[in-house]
């Protein structure tokens, strides 16, 4: 009950439901959809995911009150309410203390309610209605309309067959790349997968133990200006060979202002004995601009990371990122190096601490450090 009260307090304080890509393979589970209702992972946990959150992912106990038994409170809402089989509920609340500094500028400090989302799922014989609703995060709420804080990032109707096929229609983030949680990662932010970049569309795919395929068409994002709102599609395929996963991604988007084609590859390698995962993504993009004849550019974005799991509930990570907005232009590339600690003492809770240094062009830099408390009821 105390945990539930703390959680409720956080939900009141705070503003995309995600999973961490390193949970795949490292927890002994091959595919993200084993633990999530969403076919490519992220968002609301299913029953097995709930069990894994306490039994495998988290440390089970608070450090000051250890017992050999699992905490046993991984159920939705800490088991306070018994939910019928056709209903599932959850949420994500993230509250962060963050400081950032750019080159010679003065240092900024923020307490940011990053996320406060409730997730719900109604299911009936292969069909389900899935949705999130909550508050978006903001760090500098200067003159922003109050109504803009209330958002629903995802809501879709889904059909799932018993043989691995699925189809869904509504608003959701199409499967692409590693699916990193951090929306500021270059492979997300600059390629059309930033916060609130979910569009309305339809998707179909096939999930098997050794591979999965996803194809999505999208046409409208109400949170983006019409001129920038892309219509197009994505495709993502992944093959799993032992403790490794290899993927290929494709995205086409056409808006009034510009057209963009992106192709990419991903890879994950879990070294079981060393408790270490290497994961990476590389994408190339070609963008052309409709109102400027002849104008176009080629872009490159990459992410290369390593995650070490010394013991259950503790993950240490580091990554290098690269983004070149125009390969034909000198000195517009960005590099980022980051390191982080994710501590999950028990189900429902995570403490995250991390830092990131960005080098922009030949002479500028920016750094950020963040301490974040994450609660999922």
């Amino acid at each position: 009950l105390r945990d539930a009260l703390w959680g409720a307090a956080m939900m009141l304080l705070a503003a995309r439901a995600e999973a961490y890509p390193h949970f795949q393979l490292s927890t002994g589970v091959n595919r993200c959809s084993s633990c999530h209702y969403a076919p490519a992972g992220g968002g609301l946990l299913n029953g097995f995911g709930r069990f894994e959150s306490a039994d495998e992912v988290s440390g089970r106990n608070w450090p000051w009150r250890r017992s050999p038994a699992p905490a046993g409170d991984e159920k939705p809402l800490h088991g306070a309410v018994a939910l019928p089989r056709w209903l599932d509920l959850g949420g994500d609340a993230r509250l962060a203390l963050l400081t950032n500094k750019e080159s010679d500028a003065s240092r900024e400090w923020h307490v940011i309610p990053m996320q406060a989302d409730l997730h719900g799922r109604l299911a009936l014989s292969g069909f389900s209605l899935n949705g999130t609703a909550g508050l978006r995060g903001t760090s500098r709420p200067r003159d922003q309309p109050a109504s803009s804080y209330f958002v629903s990032r995802e809501h879709y109707l889904m059909w799932q067959g018993e043989r691995g096929w699925y189809a869904r229609a509504g608003r959701f983030m199409p499967p692409f790349g590693l699916g990193l949680v951090d929306h500021t990662a270059y492979v997300r932010r600059y390629l059309g997968f930033d916060l609130l970049d979910e569009s309305y569309g339809g998707s179909a795919g096939y999930l098997a133990d050794r591979f999965e395929l996803h194809a999505t068409g999208f046409f409208w994002n109400p949170y983006v200006a019409r001129e920038n709102d892309e219509r197009g599609g994505t495709a993502y395929g992944e093959v799993r060979l032992g403790p490794t996963a290899w993927g290929g991604s494709f995205r086409f988007g056409d808006a009034d202002a510009a057209r963009r084609v992106i192709g990419g590859v991903t890879g994950k390698v879990w070294l079981t004995r060393a408790h270490v995962m290497f994961l990476g993504e590389g994408d190339v993009a070609r963008q052309t601009f409709h109102d400027v004849p002849g104008a176009g550019r080629d872009q490159l974005a990459s992410y290369l990371g390593v995650v070490y799991r010394p013991w259950r509930g503790v993950y240490l990570g580091a990554a290098h990122e690269f983004f070149d907005e125009d390969l034909a232009v000198r000195d517009v590339e960005r590099h980022a190096a980051g390191a982080w600690l994710s501590y999950l003492p028990r189900a429902h809770w995570e403490v995250f601490a991390g830092g990131r240094l960005q080098l922009v062009g030949p002479s500028d830099q920016a750094s950020v450090a963040m301490l974040m408390l994450h609660y999922y009821p």
């Binding site: 903001t138 200006a225 690269f322």
Partner: protein, 119 residues
């Protein structure tokens, strides 16, 4: 560190000479530079329009807004506050606050203003 990081990257050294061939037109600058970096959902997007400034949408409308609100003085880059914000001169907070624009991009915006801020 600054010199070592690029060597760690597969794609290091991909940037070529700037041919200065990028068009100093707002129809290019807005979707290529400002919208991806400034119009994120929580900042200068139509959704949030932080500080009542929207940096996405119709280039003509956004350009007029920048001029009308005194961020851009066509033909006068040294007097245009937009460049102060992008370079962090005379202002408390450099924009974008999470990471600056590459100087090459700011230089292109400066050239656009100097050439009269054409649409």
């Amino acid at each position: 560190m600054r010199r070592a990081l690029p060597a760690l990257l597969l794609a290091a050294g991909c940037g070529g000479d700037d041919p200065a061939g990028r068009p100093a037109e707002f129809s290019y600058i807005l979707p290529a530079i400002l919208e991806p970096t400034c119009a994120t959902s929580g900042c200068h997007s139509e959704l949030s329009h932080t500080a009542r400034l929207v940096l996405e949408g119709d280039p003509g409308v956004v350009r007029e807004s920048l001029v009308a609100k005194g961020f851009v003085y066509p033909g006068e880059p040294e007097a245009s506050p937009l460049l102060y914000f992008l370079r962090g001169t005379y202002v408390r907070l450099r924009m974008p606050p999470d990471a600056p624009l590459p100087e090459g991009d700011v230089a292109l915006i400066e050239r656009w203003i100097a050439e009269g801020a054409p649409p």
